[in-house]
Amino acid sequence: MALPTSNWRKLAPVVLAANNVNAALDAIYAAGTALTYADGSARTPGTDCAWTWNRDTANALQVGATTAAYCTPPTVFPAVTNPGVVIPQAMLWCGSTVLPTATLRYAFPAAQIDARAAGMLYVGQCKNPGAYSDWNSATPFTSGQFTGCANAVVAFATATWNLLYMWESQEGIIVALGRTFPQINTSWSGGGAILDLGTASNAETDGRLYGVFTSGLNNYCSGSFWSSTTDIPFNEGSTAGRERFGIFQPGTATIAAYNRFGVYSPTNTLLSRGGEVPLIPISCFGLMGAARLREIWLVRDAFTNQNFTNGGLAVGYIVGAFFATTAVDAAVLTV
């Protein structure tokens, strides 16, 4: 049985106060705690699609600076296979200008471990989290199962990030950092329960799969990410520094790799003869079987921060490899 339909919302973009990890985390926190969405509608954390955020400004690595921003979902949906019991989760973005020494690192396969580095922004996902304790540890949420921290972006010194975008649904979050010069690139990260197996078989007890993804450290998100095999979202590169898409094996803390299935080469003419914009479902494949991205669709070429409307009604929000002026491969997150 399919999971409930996710409804995506767009947070207001935030300009980074500086090109460093602390400013990025401040921007993530600012976006996540906004009381209105980008379209001006009200947002109440803990309800509808709004995640509830907190941050760490007292970490011993860098006291007084924001070194982590983390959040928990509203969980308004029921469990599918175990009524009433939706598995708790938390998303974590973290990093400091001081080298973290004890952070649990994302590794897949076991020998391919994302490196700890000063100034890097990391992303991780926790299943069954306890209270937040310290991201620079093996258990950032005291207990539960943690993916480890994966590189969330191209390094700040390389990229010169200056914009942050965020989208949230009842069970997933996507963050994109953008830069305006010299190219309009992005790096993506996010996670949650963004895959749907379409069956209770092989899923967690609530019917979901939980995990984390990032377009990686090595390069910006590819402009042809629906056909490329590197530097892309929703794909496990199985090499440190590359793109990551790790999904918890149900009932365990062990990661299974998931990879986009299929090669698509959309253009800006991917329209029906009637001028409609088709929404193409995308599946990923891994140990638990093929699973569909939840309300994350392939769409005609577009760029990040565009809104997709039809007759004045919002259909969804665009997350593209570029964020302005040049339409390339893109996804639409439907409302």
């Binding site: 078989s201 092989n202 299935f261 090669v263 029906s272 009637g274 088709p278 193409i280 494949f285 079987g289």
Partner: protein, 346 residues
């Protein structure tokens, strides 16, 4: 809004008793199409023509089920009396009166409506397929415009090379309420296949009359030509297979009627896939990956295949059951080796 989900059924495979000429293949098609049971032994509710073999008849259609009602033509262009030259079928219902037809002869010049977008070489000993909409009763396969008196016709596209180049020895057929698939094994040794898909097998996912006919469907045909299906027929660069079009004679042709018109819009796959025999969940569930169809040129979108999903590599012609429940049938490229395959869901 999506069209109603099709439910696919498999007919019992039929041995083609001779590779000498197309009539033996047409015999097999007719035998499969008039079977009173499905391959799984379940009953098949049949319609009928009052006088099989005669033209100009209106069939009595079944009130329910998925069975297409078949007839044949053994009266025109036959070398020998009673030899079939065409088989055609109509579904139990449908607003636009679609009909599918296969034809071929072993003597004389082959005439009839040519494939509208590209004229295949018309030759004896080949099997051709076509699809009609807004059709009337069958008159003759060699009518220059349509075999069905009135309406729109795709023209004939090659869908198998018959004897002696590649002798067809076995026929598979699957049907749903709105589409038919035929596949021919032309080598018992290596299991190679050719065939055709015809009917309303693409869902435009739109009722916009620029995208869909007035009944919300798209009607079309995909024929392999004489080219053997490659094992990686869903992958990059694959040609000579279902859902592929080439502007060369005897090559695969794939197109749909332009909604509201009798012209053909050429179609192409919207993506490529490289599944393997390991493409299943760890408990053996088969994936069901939707398949998109685009315009051949310009990058436009036509729709999504109806209950035809990319799945793990498989032989063609086998069924998938899970815990004793019928799930569907596998459409692959070979009868002896696991190749790229689609799952036709039950």
């Amino acid at each position: 809004m999506a069209l109603p989900a099709l439910q696919w059924r498999m007919l019992p495979p039929v041995v083609v008793t001779s590779t000498a000429q197309p009539s033996f293949i047409l015999d097999a098609i007719y035998t499969a199409g008039t079977s009173a049971v499905y391959a799984d032994g379940s009953a098949r509710v049949l319609g009928n023509y009052a006088i099989p073999g005669n033209a100009g008849q209106v069939p009595t259609l079944p009130a329910s089920g998925f069975a297409w009602t078949w007839n044949y033509d053994a009266t025109t262009k036959s070398t020998f009396a009673g030899e079939k030259t065409a088989c055609y079928a109509v579904p139990a219902s449908g607003a636009l009166n679609q009909q599918v037809i296969f034809m071929g002869i072993n003597s004389a010049a082959v005439v009839g409506a040519t494939w509208k977008q590209f004229i295949d070489t018309r030759a004896v000993q080949y099997l051709y397929g076509g699809l009609a909409k807004n059709s009337g009763v069958y008159t003759a396969f060699d009518n220059a415009l349509t075999p069905f008196t009135v309406g729109d016709f795709t023209g004939f596209a090659m869908c198998a090379n018959t004897a002696p180049v590649a002798g067809i020895t076995l026929l598979y057929m699957w049907e749903s309420a709105e589409a038919v698939i035929v596949q021919f094994r032309n080598s018992a040794t290596n299991g190679q296949t050719v065939g055709a898909i015809a009917g309303a097998f693409i869902d435009p996912l739109s009722v916009n009359l620029a995208n869909a006919e007035t009944d919300g469907r798209l009607y079309g045909i995909s024929a392999t030509g004489v080219v053997i299906m490659p094992g990686t027929w869903l992958g990059t660069g694959a040609s000579g297979c279902f859902l592929f079009h080439s502007n060369s004679v005897t090559d695969p042709h794939f197109g749909t009627f332009t909604p509201g018109l009798g012209t053909i819009a050429l179609a192409a796959r919207g993506q490529t896939f490289t599944p393997t025999s390991g493409f299943s969940s760890r408990n053996g569930d088969l994936p069901e990956i939707p398949y998109q169809i685009n315009a051949l040129t310009g990058g436009g979108y036509f729709g999504q295949l109806r209950q035809m999903f990319v799945t793990r590599d498989s032989l063609t012609g086998i069924a998938w059951e899970a815990l004793g429940v019928q799930k569907g049938y596998l459409l692959g490229a070979s009868t002896v080796a696991a190749t790229d395959a689609m799952l036709l869901t039950y």
